[in-house]
């Protein structure tokens, strides 16, 4: 408990409070007058309304499209399942600039929809919503699907024997068990879309603006800290309300569930209905996720005179015709992986400890901390980044120019994922198993390792995958934090896209493709890690 608290205090609460304080304090006195002034602005009201409803709509749409997929991934066996599960996570790591252009290619002028039906969605709110689904699909599939695959299907069968129809059995037995995971996934999607930045800007055009965009503008562009501080507080209030609503809806705590080995619950689909469901999910994934990704890949191969590897070759020569890079792109891959590994480890340690502490002690204070852990998802990267600047400037924490700040900031976003994915499973572990281990001579830590860990390994891997993916694709915090020049992949892509020229554009696409592959491969490897399979071999 102490470590997560210290981590959040030092690297989140303190910087954010400091930067807000800097904005609202002038000459040593608090200037709360600014609050009324900013809130009175009708534009801000509009922004707040748009921010909220697009987030709600995006969340609903994501759940609608991704829950069937969570079921399919949890319960069915089909060839290429693991690969597909890794692929749907790829969008999560892609820089928004890149995703924007992929989506424009599908939704915009000359895109698939335009050619088939003459439909253009590129400046409509639909583009934003669909892109949000694209980004967050994996959040639902992984967090909900992870738990679902461990639910004992026999419980549903028991309900059916007792006379419940297929749907009624699902609604009465499975849904309540899944509810905490669904709520958690919905919460994360909501927070992500609530603070959406790049997607809204690129796809929505300038007429759509979210709070996050305003905060960025006021902080990074105008240095109007008072306004930014008020907006940050507004965002805080909104996020706080959401968290409260979430806490209220899942007040019923995760109950102890019978968790089983996921390998036992999945089987090949049977009957026309199940095949249709699987088909439907695959088509959704194909259109919504694979198609935009495919466009990127295609563009990375498509030169002015036909397809080829020219852009990939260009990547190899660091100084290809003048050189955009101080470091070759392969080094960017390496940098990205390093940051991601460190950030993942930090997130796992902090998040794992927080989750363990939250499982054991469920007082009101602890529940408050639970909510606090989610806050970083609802706070602008620029707020945190600028907060770092004015707080981490004293030894021993003068980390302003240290590279560790980047993974630290990334871990901040990773921790909520770790906590959210692990908590339902940890809470579902029967406490008496730990007691059994203790009586047999296992210290609490050992009992955690021997009992909880094997049971939550799956959740842990899911969480690690998220933390890794988040960190791999993280752009906001990375650019706001001063660092020696070792660009990560997303930063390198952004730099390439920021320059004219066919080769630069092509290399950006090629590098994005590499980023996708790195992400997919990393996740696949992560899913393959199964230390001491079923542990039996240990004695």
């Amino acid at each position: 408990m102490a470590v997560p608290l210290a981590f959040f205090g030092l690297f989140f609460a303190y910087p954010v409070i400091a930067i807000v304080g800097r904005g609202l304090k002038s000459g040593g006195t608090w200037q709360f007058g600014r609050i009324g002034e900013v809130l009175g602005d009708p534009d801000i009201g509009g922004v707040l309304w748009f921010t909220t409803w697009q987030a709600a709509a995006s969340t609903a749409l994501t759940l609608l499209l991704a829950l069937p997929a969570a079921y399919v991934f949890a319960r069915f066996d089909f060839p290429g399942k693991q690969l597909l599960r890794a692929v749907v996570t790829v969008p999560f790591v892609l820089p928004t600039v890149v995703v924007g252009s992929a989506f424009l290619a599908v939704l915009g002028r000359g895109g698939l929809l335009a050619e088939l039906w003459g439909l253009r969605l590129d400046t409509s709110v639909w583009a934003i919503l669909l892109a949000h689904v694209f980004f967050n699909y994996a959040v639902v599939v992984r967090t909900v699907g992870g738990l679902w695959s461990q639910l004992d299907p026999r419980q549903e069968e028991a309900a059916r024997v007792l006379g419940a129809g297929r749907f009624a059995a699902w609604r009465k037995v499975t849904l309540p068990a899944l509810a905490p995971a669904v709520a958690a996934a919905a919460l994360m999607v909501f927070l992500f879309t609530f603070t959406s930045f790049g997607v809204v800007q690129i796809l929505g055009g300038p007429s759509f603006s979210t709070l996050e965009v305003e905060i960025y503008r006021q902080t990074a562009q105008f240095l109007d800290l008072p306004t930014a501080a008020v907006l940050t507080l507004v965002q805080f209030a909104a996020v706080g309300t959401i968290l409260a609503v979430h806490a209220w809806t899942v007040r019923r705590r995760e109950s102890a569930l019978r968790l089983v080995d996921p390998a036992r619950t999945a089987r090949r689909p049977r009957g026309a209905g199940q095949w249709a469901l699987l088909g439907g999910v695959l088509v959704t994934v194909l259109v919504l996720i694979l198609l935009p990704l495919a466009v990127l890949v295609e563009r990375s191969f498509q030169g002015p005179d036909g397809y080829g590897f020219r852009y990939y070759r260009a990547l190899q020569s660091a100084d290809g015709g003048g050189g955009t890079f101080l470091v070759p792109p392969l080094e960017a891959v390496w940098n990205s992986l390093q940051y991601a590994v460190v950030a993942t480890l930090i997130a796992l340690v902090v998040g794992g400890l927080a989750a363990a502490a939250l499982t054991r002690r469920a007082g009101r204070l602890v529940r408050g901390f639970d909510a606090l852990l989610m806050l970083p998802l609802g706070v602008s990267a620029v707020t945190v980044g600028f907060g770092f600047l004015i707080t981490l400037n004293q030894p021993p924490f003068d980390l302003r120019t240290s590279w560790i700040l980047v993974p630290l900031a990334q871990a901040l976003v990773g921790v909520p994922f770790v906590v959210r994915t692990m908590l339902p499973v940890l809470r579902a572990v029967d406490g008496r198993l730990r007691e059994a281990a203790a009586v047999l001579g296992a210290s609490p830590l050992r009992a955690w390792r021997e009992v909880d860990l094997p049971m939550v390994r799956r959740a842990l891997l899911v969480a690690a995958g998220f933390a890794f993916a988040v960190s791999l694709g993280e752009f906001g915090a990375t650019v706001f934090i001063a660092r020696p020049d070792n660009p990560t992949l997303p930063v390198a892509v952004a730099r390439l896209l920021g320059r004219a020229g066919d080769l630069n554009y092509g290399q950006a696409m090629a590098l994005s493709t590499i980023l996708m592959v790195v992400c997919a491969v990393s996740l696949l490897v992560l899913e393959r890690i199964r230390p001491d399979r079923s542990v039996s071999g240990e004695f």
């Binding site: 252009s101 300038p206 050189g323 340690v349 120019t401 590279w403 080769l503």
Partner: protein
Amino acid sequence: MSTIKRYAATALAAAVGVSALAACGGTDSGAPSKGDKTVTLVSHDSFDVSPAVLKAFTQETGYTVKVLKSGDAGAALNQEILTKGSPRGDVFFGVDNTLLSRALDNGLFQSYEAKGLDAIPADLQLDKGEHRVTPVDTGDICVNYDKKFFADKKLAPPKTLDDLVKPAYKDLLVVEDAANSSPGLGFLLATAGQYGDDGWQGYWQKLKNNGVKVVDGWERAYNEEFSGSAGGKKAKADRPLVVSYASSPPVEVLYAEPRPTEAPTGVATGTCFRQIEFAGLLDGAKNAAGGKALLDFLIGKQFQEDLPLKMFVNPAVKDTKLPEVYAKFGEKAEKPLTVDPKKITENREQWVKTWSSLVKK
């Protein structure tokens, strides 16, 4: 309780372990270990320099340069303002004339008259009295056009701001959001410089009537909407006019394979806004001597000659030899427009607000 403590201890050990591990395999530790032999340059993300040039600096002066980048020009400067008094580095590079007043008003820099300043045209030296900042390069934000489009249409490309509102160019121009994008802001300032405080709104009304499209940033405008770019071609873009840089055409040539004999895009030379980029010695710099040496170096021959192909800007020092590709394909802005930095700082927010409500709605 003791359980929790034990957890905490273990976790702390783990965290320390991770840090230590990372530090071992890491790239660069933040500690100023080399004392005053390191000079730190803070800049924005677009900063770039050839490694050989930095090496030359080290050979000349004995100082090693550490480069820190954070965000775009605006964000980088604002970070500097926030950390005023205990800066992260010694020299800041990348404050331009649209941001200059904010930097100077905040007392960010110490005075230092760099050696070789007399080789820089006087009209670039905006802080001539106190020498708190040194002009290093200039860049022009101009409307670019797709040569092929205008050739196919047998239409003369536009040259001036006035041309852009002519019916012949209806629905052809795409510009960036002035609130988020520095070329967007530059173009707004160009119109303000041309038509004055009270005239620019009328001009933009006409642009709007002529079908100007506003998108969020340069990346979307240039790579997705502009028909003359590589990305635009793939995206079947339909806007042959875009607000970009005077240096974009040579970049198109440089980053094409095989290298074309003519740039695919051109510059409407009468639409340009001039950006001047400055560097300065930060107030509170730990290594002031090194910083001064670095400032001298920034306007020295090697760095100046390196600039065009690294950052695609014009060297501030007169008669710097330009790389061939840059000289051949670059187009010179005619009488680039400027606005007094003080005026920009005073009006920027209001102008952007007015512009937003005028154009976006």
